[in-house]
Each structure stands twice: as C-alpha cells, then as structure tokens.
C-alpha cells in the first residue's frame, strides 16, 4: 500500500507540530446526543414531556426541523464528525405527517442510511430513528432514556469512530 507508506514517511520525516487545542475536561462520561425533531410531532412531544415535568437525561441537544423529511443524511454524518456521540432523528408517526408523506420519504432514506453506516462500522446504537407524536410526552422521555443509555453502554467514542471525529484526532 503505497499511500500508507508515503503518508507514514511524511509523518515520520515531516512532523508538523500541531498544537493541542484546549478541550473541556471530562470526568465522568456523559455522551452528547444531537436530536433532529420534527416541528409538528416530536418537538411538540418533547415540549409535552417538559410541561408534564417528566424526567429524562440532559444529554440531548435538540435541533428543530420542519419535518423528518427535511433531515439530510449529511446532517447525521456531519454531527458525528463534529463530535456528537449519537444522533437521533424523530418525526411524526407514519400517516400523521403534517406534509402528508415527508416522514415516509424519510423512512426510506434512513433505512438506507442506518444500514450503510452500520455496515461501515459505526455502531447502530449511535444513529437512531423513531416516531413520537405531539401527545406522547412519556414516549419521548423514554426514547431519550433509551438512546442515552444505549450510547453510554458503548462508552466514549474511543472505539470505532475515533478516526472520524474531528475534535480530538489530529488527522
């Protein structure tokens, strides 16, 4: 493998010193989950969970999108690269889409994406998809609990995805 050899040689001979950038110290592992929630159902579901004073882990960072169909697969890939430990996409249940079929198109897309990322070696627990309606505050809370505990079980992304993540790796 020529590239490898040349890259290694380049590395050995020409070490560009790369200043380590200060990072927030992490004592106990709390993963960061980026959640893309559709405006009409899942975001409202999250709201309901809050209003109902349901407890769920604080690891989730919500991005409100108009529809699960609006979520470009690149969002998921980019979130993982930029350091998210897990990504959740959630929309309306099939049949309930505000735009009639946005979530059904999304379903095909994410069936392919999840299978593809899994195949490349990104643990399936890191990329999850679900349906939560506006009335399912409880379901939302237990969904977040499940996703966070799944990702926690995998441990910090020192494993398979380390090379991918830009924050720490000097690659």
């Amino acid at each position: 493998m020529q590239t490898k050899a040349v890259k290694q040689s380049a590395k050995k001979t020409l070490p560009t010193k790369e200043t380590k950038l200060p990072m927030a110290a992490q004592s106990s592992y709390e993963p960061t989950i980026v959640a893309f929630l559709c405006n009409w159902c899942s975001y409202a579901g999250a709201d309901l969970a809050g209003v109902s004073r349901l407890q769920y882990p604080t690891n989730v960072r919500v991005v409100r999108v108009p529809c699960s169909g609006r979520v470009d697969p690149m969002y998921v890939i980019k979130a993982l690269q930029q350091g998210a430990d897990g990504v959740l996409v959630s929309g309306c249940h099939p049949g309930d889409c505000h735009y009639i079929s946005g979530n059904l198109v999304a379903r095909r897309k994410f069936a392919m994406l999840k299978s593809f990322l899994d195949y490349l070696g990104i643990e399936p627990q890191r990329v999850q998809f679900s349906w939560v309606s506006a009335s399912e505050g409880g379901r939302f809370a237990s969904l977040i609990e499940k996703v966070v505990s799944d990702v926690k079980k995998l441990g910090p992304r020192g494993g398979s995805a380390e090379t991918f993540r830009r924050c720490h790796a000097n690659n």
Binding site: Q2, T3, V6, K12, L14, P15, T16, T19, L21, M23
Partner: protein, 337 residues
C-alpha cells in the same frame, strides 16, 4: 563533479552510514509488490529495479496538507517548519528534476516559502538513473529531462549491477562523497564506460520526439475550438495535477477544531471548476476547455517564459492515471497542429 564507486554488496553499509546524516528514505517494496517511498532499514532494503512511485516526490517537500497556523481565543500562532534531516536515496531522476522546477517557484527570491525551503535545506537528494522506461507513457527525453539528468539532485547514482557509481552534482553531494570516502573507491575505467553505455542504451529506449518547440507554437494562441476538442473527454478531476511532480497549485483551508481553528495549506488543482470561481459567482475559467488550456499553457508556455524551463518532466503519471487516458503530448500536438 566527482565520481565514486561502491560495490553493490556494500550498499547496505553505505545506507547505514547515511542513517547518521538523517533518516534515509528510498524505494521499498509495498504491500502489493509495487515500490513505494519508505524508510530504508536493514529489514527493508532499497528496491533498485523499479519503475517509478505512484505518488510524486513533491509530496515530501510540499505535503498535500500541512498546518500553517493555529488560532485560539483571538490569538494566531504560527506553526513553524521544523528541522529534520532526511536523505532520499534511489529516487527517479525525473522526480528530482521536478524539484528543480519547484525550487524556482517556492524559493524565488521575492518570496521564499519557509516550509518548502526548510525541508529542501534539510534533505539530501540522491537520485538513480533509469535503465528502462517505467511505462509506455514515459517521455522524459521529449521534455529535456532525460533518464539520467542531474538537475534537482545532489548526487546521481548509476546502478551497474555489480557496482553503483555515484556522481556528485552539488557541493552537498560532494560533501556526501567525501564524508563516506572510506566506503567508496575510485570507479574503474570499465565502470565509467558502463555508465556511458547505460545512458546511451536508455536513451534509445525512450521516445525521441521533442517538445522543445511547444512553447513557440503555443505562444501563437491556438484556436479555442481546438482546446474544446481536446478537452471533450476530460472529466475535470484532479488526478493529473495531484500526481504531477511539478504541479504546485494550492489552497488555504480553515478547519475548526473545538473552540479554535487551524489554517491548512492543501493541494488544489486548476482542473477543478471551483479553482477560480470568485465570491461574486464570476469564474474566468468556467469552461473545462479553458482549464485544460491553463494547465497545458502553464507547463509548456508560461513557465518556459518565466523560468526558461518546460514545467513537465515527462514522467507520464498524468497519462497513465487519467480516467479518460488523455495524453498531454497528443493534446499539444493537436492544438498546435
């Protein structure tokens, strides 16, 4: 210019001795059996009979991606080029010649590139003359480089089978021969004759067609329609430029890392549509025929005007690796017809 010889069996000793001057790199067997540029050690001896590396030598001095500065909290820190002594042994003469070309760009007196110049200073280049073309796409004679040209190297080696004859080119090369004089001996008359014979024999195996007229012909500004014709099957990828030993276009990229950022210098290619696209949306080279024209003209017309040298060494990498098998020699012939 001095000549010294060494028995091939002693080459290992020489490489070990060179290791004291810096890390020694040369052609070693890669995983798939092809020769790659790697560290020469006891366990990985130099492969002396090889075509050429897939990747051009420029990447050692001008890596595809390097960090120029780091910014954090409003302060920009310069990443200074570091000193690291290297010896390159047994690389191809066309690649060395290409470094001579790049020197003219990166070491031009009005603005010296500190990164390139540091690496160039720290590297001793010992090339090895070719004995046969690496592929049917080799055309080094046509560009004036030739299989045993001396430019860009500190010393050139000739592999005669039982012995290797070294010829110094620069003062540094001279110093290298002096430093290891205990390992070298004076070449015999037969060996000197052998070098000459080898050079002549290799010349015969190469295409004799000369491209020295190209700058004159291209200066006449070929018809744009011809450029469109020759670039019709071009896919606008960067395989030709990224693998070219003399192409040196680059770009700066900013990379955000955590709360800070890094400024990178990365290779870029004039064949990409985005290369000259301006913020206003205007693109002076929006058409691929214009980009092909730029690449060919830069190598065969502008560079000769500025540096009196064709910026092509005839290594043939662009021909072999082009997905559409576009041949730069044919392109020039067609547009200047």
């Amino acid at each position: 210019m001095r000549k010294q010889a060494i028995d091939t069996l002693k080459l290992k000793k020489l490489i070990a001795a060179m290791g004291k001057d810096g890390e020694v790199f040369g052609p070693v067997a890669g995983e798939a059996g092809e020769a790659v540029l790697g560290p020469l050690t006891d366990k990985t001896p130099a492969v002396l009979n090889f075509g050429n590396f897939k990747l051009p030598l420029k990447r050692v001095f001008f890596p595809q991606c390097e960090v120029l500065s780091t910014a954090f909290a409003g302060t920009v820190t310069e990443e200074k080029p570091e000193h690291k002594k290297i010896v390159l042994f047994g690389i191809r003469t066309c690649d060395a010649k290409a470094m001579d070309h790049l020197d003219r760009v990166f070491l031009s007196q009005d603005a010296i590139d500190p990164y390139y110049s540091r690496r160039r200073e720290d590297t001793l280049v010992i090339s090895m003359a070719c004995t046969a073309p690496a592929s049917s796409a080799c055309f080094c004679l046509s560009t004036g480089a030739g299989p045993s040209n001396r430019a860009g190297a500190d010393a050139v080696a000739f592999n005669l089978g039982k012995a290797v004859v070294f010829e110094s080119v620069t003062e540094r090369g001279d110093a290298f021969l002096t430093k290891h004089k205990t390992l070298f001996r004076q070449p015999t008359a037969a060996e000197l004759e052998g070098v000459k014979r080898q050079e002549a024999a290799t010349h015969k195996k190469l295409s004799q067609q000369s491209l020295s007229d190209a700058p004159k012909l291209l200066k006449k500004q070929p018809d744009p329609g011809r450029w469109a014709e020759v670039s019709a099957t071009c896919l606008s990828c960067g395989a030709c430029t990224y693998l070219c030993p003399t192409c040196h276009c680059f770009d700066f990229q900013e990379e955000s890392v955590g709360d800070g950022s890094r400024k990178l210098r990365v290779h870029d290619a004039c064949m990409f549509e985005s290369f000259t696209r301006e913020a206003s949306g205007h693109n002076p080279r929006a058409d691929k025929s214009k980009r092909m024209q730029q690449r060919v003209m830069h190598k065969f017309s502008y560079a000769p005007e500025n540096y009196n040298e064709l910026f092509c060494v005839g290594c043939g990498r662009c021909i072999v690796n082009c997905p559409s098998a576009i041949d730069i020699r044919e392109t020039i012939a067609k547009v200047t017809l």
